[in-house]
């Protein structure tokens, strides 16, 4: 039972408490670059999730065989391998998607979430927990990208998942699909999350004060 609970915690960690985009603010390069549409965001998120889960699993399985002196080189080779796998897989699935995501598929290699997870978590954790944590982180990343991509697509093209929302008279807000739009939308979400956090902590502290008041 305890292990089930702890496994669930491992999974939920990245999804919410330590969301890579909104809490840890990691992996900003693809976050800003590919989130011009919801479908690009989901594809990028799932590609990253796959690399994250596969590389964390392999790192975790090999954790006793990798000497610490050569660990960074080993992790990078493992991550690069799965990025290559994803690169070929996307080319085989859809060339249009491959063109849309462009160099950012290859740049998953340099996404700090991956090396960060391998080094800080998978290298010290058994395979099941490591993969669950990586899966949660990956899905948290996907969710973050989707939150940004959906807003940018709705305002920037008047569509969501390619379906027109506002009819032919909608004047697209072009800046949203340009690089500055990425920064604006990301900032908007970060403000929202910071506000929720601030409200929660102020509620918590007022609750504590009430509790202390009750005691005295």
């Amino acid at each position: 039972m305890t292990s089930l609970v702890s496994n669930f915690d491992e999974f939920m960690d990245g999804l919410w408490k330590q969301n890579p985009i909104f809490v840890m603010v990691l992996g900003m390069c693809p976050t800003l670059a590919v989130t011009v549409s919801a479908i690009n965001s989901i594809s990028m998120g799932l590609a990253t999730t796959f690399v994250l889960v596969a590389s964390c699993l392999l790192v975790s399985l090999l954790r006793h065989a990798i000497p610490k002196e050569v660990r960074i080189a080993s992790y990078i080779v493992i991550i690069a391998t799965f990025v290559t796998v994803v690169d070929y897989a996307i080319q085989a699935i859809s060339l249009e998607l491959y063109e849309a995501l462009g160099a950012y598929i290859k740049l998953i290699v340099a996404n700090c979430i991956l090396l960060g997870r391998a080094e800080a978590h998978a290298a010290k954790t058994p395979p099941v927990a490591a993969s669950l944590n990586a899966c949660g982180m990956g899905l948290g990343f996907t969710l973050g990208l989707l939150a940004i991509g959906a807003v940018r697509e709705i305002f920037g093209s008047g569509m969501l998942f390619g379906v027109s929302l506002f009819g032919p008279h909608f004047q697209p807000w072009v800046i949203m699909v340009l690089p500055p739009g990425g920064f604006f939308v990301l900032a908007g979400w970060l403000i929202l999350f910071a506000a929720i956090k601030a409200r929660n902590s102020s509620q918590l502290s007022s609750g504590e004060r009430a509790l202390e008041g009750g005691k005295s």
């Binding site: 000497p67 391998t81 799965f82 290559t84 070929y88 085989a92 699935i93």
Partner: protein, 224 residues
């Protein structure tokens, strides 16, 4: 003098790295082999779609490489160094409908890759399609839809000079509204950088391809 047990021996490090390299090598090569057919099929479909867009009457497409000494059918691999890849489009009867080739040049954001349709009889470019670009939405990407701009490619003069070694006139993008010759491209107002990239890409590609292609055109007249 015994070594500190905490220090890993060189053999261990090399063994670990060797093991990882072997595992990763097998994974990469395995996936490459597994996806190769699907990737090639996808590339072929994507390209045929582009060629059919510029030659709506074409039924089949064959890829060739133009080398300094002649032309040869292209294999599955990318064009060899020094070769120019082009596509011969054939109609339902197997007769040559036209030649399509790619022109590519740096635009505002990234490479602008276009596919132009060349009519060998008239020595004119008779159509233009975009393979890929990342130009600014609403500005640079107008090259896809701007009617006046696309009108440049209904009959763009790319005839060869008398010595057959280069184009008689360089294909050039000129400022919006100043086009005065058939080999000039009238830029889109406000999207000059992208318009120029299209012109440059076509010029470079046509200068390299057409002088090589012209002497061997008879080879391509009918589908082999």
């Amino acid at each position: 003098m015994s070594r500190d047990p905490e220090i890993t021996s060189s053999t261990d490090m090399i063994r670990a790295l060797g093991l990882i390299a072997a595992i990763c090598g097998i994974i990469i090569v395995g996936v490459y082999e597994f996806t190769l057919d699907a990737v090639n099929a996808n590339k072929k479909i994507a390209l045929e779609r582009q060629v059919f867009k510029v030659f709506p009457h074409a039924k089949t497409v064959d890829a060739f490489d133009a080398l300094p000494g002649g032309i040869s059918p292209a294999g599955d691999h990318d064009a060899l160094a020094g070769a120019v890849r082009f596509y011969a489009a054939y109609d339902a009867t197997g007769k040559l409908a036209g030649i399509a080739a790619e022109g590519s040049s740096a635009g505002y954001a990234d490479q602008v890759r276009v596919l132009y349709a060349w009519d060998p009889e008239k020595q004119l470019i008779i159509g233009l399609g975009v393979i890929s670009m990342r130009e600014t939405p609403g500005i640079g990407d107008k090259i896809l839809v701007d009617r006046d701009f696309l009108h440049n490619f209904v009959a763009l003069d790319v005839s060869l000079a008398a010595d057959l070694n280069s184009l008689a006139h360089m294909v050039k993008t000129v400022k919006h509204g100043t086009k005065s010759h058939d080999w000039e491209i009238d830029a889109i107002s406000g999207a000059t950088v992208t318009s120029k990239a299209v012109g440059r890409g076509i010029n470079q590609s046509a200068q390299a391809l057409l002088p090589r292609l012209m002497p061997h055109l008879a080879q391509l007249r009918n589908k082999s």
